[in-house]
């Protein structure tokens, strides 16, 4: 156990802090929907130049090109989190790592530079009405015609499809193959003829995701990542990266501090909520859960630095982290009581169009409460997480398979 950072890392932390102090005025607001603003793009460019975004992405693909150093990346994330300043991004944390791992040289050169600059945005076309948790059963099909795939079918829950320039999409190219072996991973522009996007309003009141329809959409066969029929494995490389990002303990800690502040300021019968024993007890219980996950994160980090597989401590992060965030939002709402249910019909920030008296934090906590439930479902539901923990980490047997006549090879 040595929780101190060596002088090299302590100095690096100072550098990051100094940068944040002198540049914080340039940072865009924390949450923005839609295409990145000019300010957001300029900020991202500045961060790349300083090595605080796209840090380990090679220079030839527009990144900063540093040697991977997990501790430095961690310090950057921690300092931006503490300062509550919008961090940079690595383009798209699902797509870019996949391209780096499995893309052709040309795909890397074409897509990674504009993506990390924020000039090219992406959506993920995986889920379908009939294929959610059982993603590998997907049925959107792509048939080869000359040099093109011709795509027909439907995706759903496609977050950001209404703004995205491009999609990375799973399609079935080998209908007779066993279910996991008939899928391919394609990249194509969202303005390709035959694509129709219909926004779906979520329970938060915002249209964050969409239904995406494909009718005879022609995509050159060169737009495949990996080989035909190997899309499942390509996608899993991406899912691994996506899962790593959900349930981040830094976020829970920063939310917790917001809640403490709120309990100092909000009053009931003229007394701050923090002075009410029942609420305080819940707050401290939540703090205990948050700290346990924070230290679990430090343990995972140490394993990662040593290039060891963390095992169980990593398997539980998505499940526990999303649950914890949701409990934080629950607590915040309960602190506000009746005030906690005030909400603009268009969701967080919708108070600009609608007068909602006494609204706190622009409706942030209700929005988080609902959105965090979405994140408990998205990216692999809690139940699927528990299956994985039970089977992969604890070694419990899988359910007996039910034969699926839709696919070749008899695999379920």
């Amino acid at each position: 156990m040595d929780l101190a950072y060596s002088p090299e890392y302590a100095a690096f932390r100072d550098e990051v802090r100094a940068f944040l102090d002198s540049h914080r005025d340039l940072a865009p607001p924390p949450m923005q929907r839609g295409k990145p603003s000019e300010q957001a793009k300029a900020w991202q460019q500045l961060l790349i130049e300083h090595g605080y975004a796209a840090r380990t992405i090679p220079k030839e693909y527009g990144g900063y090109g540093a040697e991977p150093d997990i501790l430095k990346s961690h310090i950057i994330a921690e300092e931006f989190g503490k300062a509550r300043i919008r961090p940079g991004h690595d383009g798209d944390n699902r797509l870019v790592p996949t391209l780096l791992e499995l893309g052709t040289e040309e795909q890397k050169r074409t897509y990674i530079p504009p993506t990390i600059r924020g000039e090219m945005t992406w959506c993920q076309g995986y889920s379908e009405p009939g294929s959610g948790s059982d993603l590998a059963s997907l049925s959107t099909k792509a048939e080869v015609d000359g040099d093109d795939f011709v795509i027909n079918g439907q995706k759903i829950w496609t977050s950001g499809a209404q703004y995205a320039d491009m999609i990375f999409c799973l399609v079935r190219t080998e209908p007779d193959a066993p279910k996991h072996q008939g899928i391919s991973y394609l990249l194509f522009p969202m303005d390709t003829p035959g694509i129709e996007v219909r926004p779906l309003v979520t329970m938060t009141g915002e249209a964050t995701f969409n239904e995406t329809f494909f009718t005879d959409v022609r995509v050159p066969t060169s737009q495949i990542v990996g080989r035909r029929g190997e899309g499942w494995f390509v996608a899993n490389a991406t899912l691994k990266h996506e899962r790593g990002g959900l349930g981040d303990p830094n976020q829970a800690e920063s939310r917790f501090h917001q809640i403490v502040e709120m309990m100092r300021e909000e009053t009931l019968d003229g007394e701050p909520l923090l002075s009410q024993a029942t609420y305080r007890d819940r707050l401290v219980a939540l703090q205990g859960q948050m700290l346990a996950m924070k230290f679990n994160g430090m343990r995972v980090l140490t394993h990662n630095v040593r290039d060891e597989e963390p095992g169980l401590p990593r398997w539980i992060v998505k499940l526990n982290g999303c649950e914890l965030n949701h409990r934080m939002a629950e607590m915040a709402i309960d602190i506000l009581g009746e005030l906690g249910v005030l909400y603009p019909s268009k969701g967080f920030g919708g108070h600009r169009d609608e007068d909602v008296p006494y609204l706190r934090d622009a409706g942030f906590w209700q929005q988080r409460y609902m959105m965090d439930l979405g994140l408990i479902i998205g990216g692999g539901t809690a139940q699927i997480q528990k299956n994985m923990i039970g089977e992969r980490a604890l070694g419990l047997p899988k359910e007996p398979k039910v034969a699926d006549p839709r696919f070749g090879g008899g695999a379920a």
Partner: protein, 360 residues
């Protein structure tokens, strides 16, 4: 930055665990519990040979001068084996208090004896946290009068370390006091009521004037109880997983039913972060003094909650078998049940955590 056990710490834990697996199987626990023997000579000596009691005793007093993390790793092993031996009071809280607040003469007299396993201390600080049944001890002119409740390791003790109403700590001979065992659900450890009537006692000079020494002693005890619960709960989870892989119903092993699999996953998801919390709290006790009290509170309260959840859930996975004496799962269940109440139940400890942060 390194959040992991080092090689020596892993080896310490391996050797204590290996010893307990060999020398303290369930039959041995059962025999000791049935006989009301919470300090069996063979196990006590075996642990002395491993140097377990010397961990927190400084080197100049014949100990090995290791830290709270090492002690917590041992506590985790003892909880895992439901070992019927004194530890948290006698081998952790007593040497911590003596090293912090004892006079040179007191340290010379007692620390080497603790390290060698020759003296067992019972530790009575319950009333510093909350008094029931008119518990409380008053000090006057080198004597103690009153009643100390739930004295840890009390029935096995040669000597007593008792807090008076102001939090000053005193050493008295167990033979001079009326020490009555309070039989609890957990027959693997002793807790006692100690009645004192102008009983001769010697104050630890560093414990007067401020409550710092008694609080640090309580912190150490809380972290160890949390570690004990961690070990006991991990063992119950391991037993539940093993049982779920083996027990068949409906022509399937029950671990293939999602209802059972998800119970196991929920236990693992709740318990695994607890390990990091206990490590952090134990490490903080010396390395991050500003956080030591808070983290001891969190470890104690959070492990109590998760421990309770694991104890009942692991029992459930075993079906009717879990409910029997024969299987013996209840020894761990009860160990966790006692840990939860000692040195403050979660509500009490969380309120202290709030106080420490200036929220009260």
């Amino acid at each position: 930055m390194e959040f992991a056990l080092n090689e020596e710490q892993r080896m310490l834990q391996e050797s204590v665990r290996g010893y307990l697996e060999a020398s303290c199987p369930l039959d041995r626990v059962r025999a000791a519990a049935d006989a009301g023997d919470t300090r069996p000579a063979d196990l006590w000596e075996g642990l002395v040979d491993l140097g377990v009691h010397a961990i927190l005793v400084p080197e100049e007093y014949g100990g090995v001068g290791l830290g709270h993390l090492e002690a917590a790793l041992v506590a985790e092993c003892l909880g895992g084996a439901v070992a019927p031996v004194p530890y948290v009071g006698s081998s952790v809280m007593a040497p911590v208090a003596l090293a912090l607040a004892g006079s040179d003469a007191q340290k010379d007299a007692w620390l080497p004896r603790i390290a060698r396993g020759e003296t067992v201390f019972g530790v009575g600080v319950t009333e510093q946290i909350g008094s029931r049944e008119s518990g409380g001890v008053a000090a006057a002119g080198g004597t103690l009068t009153g009643k100390a409740m739930f004295v840890l390791d009390g029935a096995d003790a040669d000597m007593l370390l008792i807090a008076d109403r102001d939090g000053a700590l005193h050493i008295a001979r167990a033979a001079d006091a009326d020490v009555k065992r309070l039989p609890t659900i957990d027959r693997t450890r002793s807790t006692s009521e100690v009645s004192l009537e102008a009983t001769a006692a010697e104050v630890l000079p560093g414990s007067t004037g401020s409550r710092a020494a008694v609080l640090a002693t309580i912190d150490a005890g809380r972290t160890m109880l949390a570690a004990d619960t961690l070990g006991a709960a991990q063992n119950m989870l391991d037993q539940a997983i093993a049982y779920a892989k083996e027990r068949r119903q409906f022509n399937r092993v029950i671990g293939s039913f999602q209802a059972v699999k998800h119970l196991c996953a929920e236990m693992a998801a709740a318990l695994e972060p607890c390990r990091s919390l206990v490590w952090y709290a134990a490490h903080a006790s010396r390395a991050i003094p500003d956080e030591a009290r808070l983290m001891a509170c969190h470890a104690k309260a959070h492990l109590s909650e998760v421990g309770r959840f694991v104890a009942r859930t692991a029992t459930e996975v075993h079906g009717g078998m879990g409910f029997t004496d024969l299987l013996g799962l209840h020894y761990w269940f009860k160990r966790i049940g006692l840990d939860r109440q000692l040195l403050g139940a979660p509500e009490i400890v969380r309120e202290e955590a709030a106080t420490v942060q200036g929220w009260v």
